[in-house]
């Protein structure tokens, strides 16, 4: 196996594949990067227990400066190898597997010799048997991920809640996550529908990595779902993730259909007030703030207190207040996470009672994005 390539091109793809490579794996060969040179191009693969990433650098694209002198495969220690490549002196480098798995890397007058591993011992990537390719808009999908992963649980004691539940039916794509304290749900209309129904749970951590990889670069993402794996294709890169096993709890029943009290706010203004009040609640053991809503007077007042430090009271500036009077307490951190996800928009908060979860939606589009927060009982 022997090839030469433009270093910047290689580093860019290496950075992507390295997202899947961990130095803390129990399978030693997975700390390595797998390289396969064929006549078509160079394939880079990285993998851990949860995700695998594979990318192809085409030999026919002149910008890559890729010349395959002889085909073959090798596994190289990823961290060490990438440090070397990043510090090489010239714009291009040459890689040559000489005797056994000895690998020679040369660039200008610098020459490294690295011990590689037999690529035949590298685990096979999962087979995705489905042909149902669901096309997603890169920016929309990234937004969907960022809006839902905030509500994913980080408690491994309830593994199923550490994932985001994807449900696809024809052109309807619904993503929902809950840690049982709050919930976030996003609906997207697919440009071209899915021919089969899908119901899968994708680990939140995998989605965060995927979202970073989509970045601003990929405006199209193709999703393929099988029994226990999901595959996302971004250009020449394939991103595989395992799915979480089990049945996701029915979350549709959690979202109340009617409201007793509603208030409307500019999300950034409310966020600033909540952050102020939480300065004090964070100092107290139970971290709770209280809202008192009086529709007859069109007022909403926020209270926070800490027995040790003091208290805070602030009259908020709602755009609208309707329904019955209400006093409700909740964890301000959940409210902050939720408000961040609304950006600059105007939001509507709907309450049923002091004991039931309340919802936040953007006033512009009340159907497709909803956040739910469970109040805290204070009596």
């Amino acid at each position: 196996m022997k090839f030469s390539i433009r270093r910047s091109v290689f580093i860019k793809e290496l950075n992507n594949v390295q997202r899947a490579i961990s130095s803390k794996t129990t399978i030693p060969i997975l700390t390595g990067l797998k390289l396969v040179a064929s006549d078509e191009g160079l394939t880079l693969t990285g993998s851990n227990a949860d995700i695998s990433i594979e990318t192809v650098i085409s030999a026919s694209d002149e910008d890559n400066g890729l010349a395959i002198a002889s085909t073959g495969a090798i596994v190289l220690p990823a961290r060490f190898f990438s440090e070397i490549i990043k510090r090489l002196p010239e714009d291009t480098f040459e890689l040559n597997v000489t005797e056994g798995f000895q690998t020679e890397i040369t660039s200008g007058s610098a020459a490294f010799n690295v011990n590689g591993l037999d690529a035949n011992n590298y685990p096979h990537l999962p087979e995705i048997d489905t042909t149902d390719a669901i096309k997603l808009d890169g920016a929309v999908f990234k937004e969907l991920i960022s809006q839902t992963v905030i509500a994913v649980s980080n408690q491994e004691s309830r593994p199923i809640l550490t994932g985001v539940h994807f449900e696809l039916d024809a052109d309807q794509f619904l993503a929902v996550a809950t840690d049982s304290h709050r919930l976030s749900q996003r609906k997207v209309n697919l440009p071209t529908g899915s021919s089969t129904k899908h119901n899968v749970i994708i680990p939140g951590k995998s989605l965060i990595e995927l979202s970073r990889m989509i970045g601003d670069e990929y405006d199209q993402v193709e999703m393929r779902l099988s029994e226990n794996q999901a595959l996302f294709i971004l250009g020449e890169t394939s991103f595989y993730t395992r799915l979480l096993e089990g049945t996701y709890p029915d979350t549709s029943r959690l979202i109340p259909s009617e409201a007793e009290t509603t208030v409307e706010f500019e999300a950034p203004a409310l966020l600033a007030s909540i952050e102020r009040a939480s300065l004090l609640s964070h100092e107290s053991r139970n971290n709770v703030i209280k809202l008192i809503i009086k529709p007859t007077e069109q007022t909403v007042t926020i209270f926070g207190n800490s027995p040790d430090v003091g208290k805070v009271e602030e009259d908020l500036k709602p755009n609208a207040v309707t329904g019955s009077e209400l006093e409700i307490s909740f964890n301000p951190d959940y409210m902050k996470d939720a408000l961040h996800s609304f950006g600059q928009s105007t939001i509507k908060i709907s309450f049923t009672s002091a004991l039931r979860p309340f919802t936040l939606v953007p006033t512009e589009d009340q159907e497709n994005f909803i956040q739910l927060i469970t109040p805290v009982r204070t009596f």
């Binding site: 049982s180 029943r253 959690l254 469970t374 009982r377």
Partner: protein, 107 residues
Amino acid sequence: MNKKELYDSFIALTKATQANLEQLQLLQSEISQVIEQNAELEIENEHLRDLLNQSKGSAKEPQLSKSRQNLEKLYEEGFHVCKEWYGKRREDDEACAFCMEVIYREG
């Protein structure tokens, strides 16, 4: 104490600590089992009392049904009453939307 003795007593202490830790972990898991079982028994007890009262013909109409009140009480004591984690302790007393739904849903 010479170095050998120091080393030996260190080993002995380490072993003893490990043994203690194991016992502590065992006790911890026993305790959480007992607490969960206790929670379930309490629910069952309340159910039975409920039935007993019904058969005596109490006619009071509370806001929440008797069984919902029992669930509420249990929830306030720090246990899940939802289908998903029934009888498990609510960690740090955090609110559970699934429990709320079971206790306060309409109908």
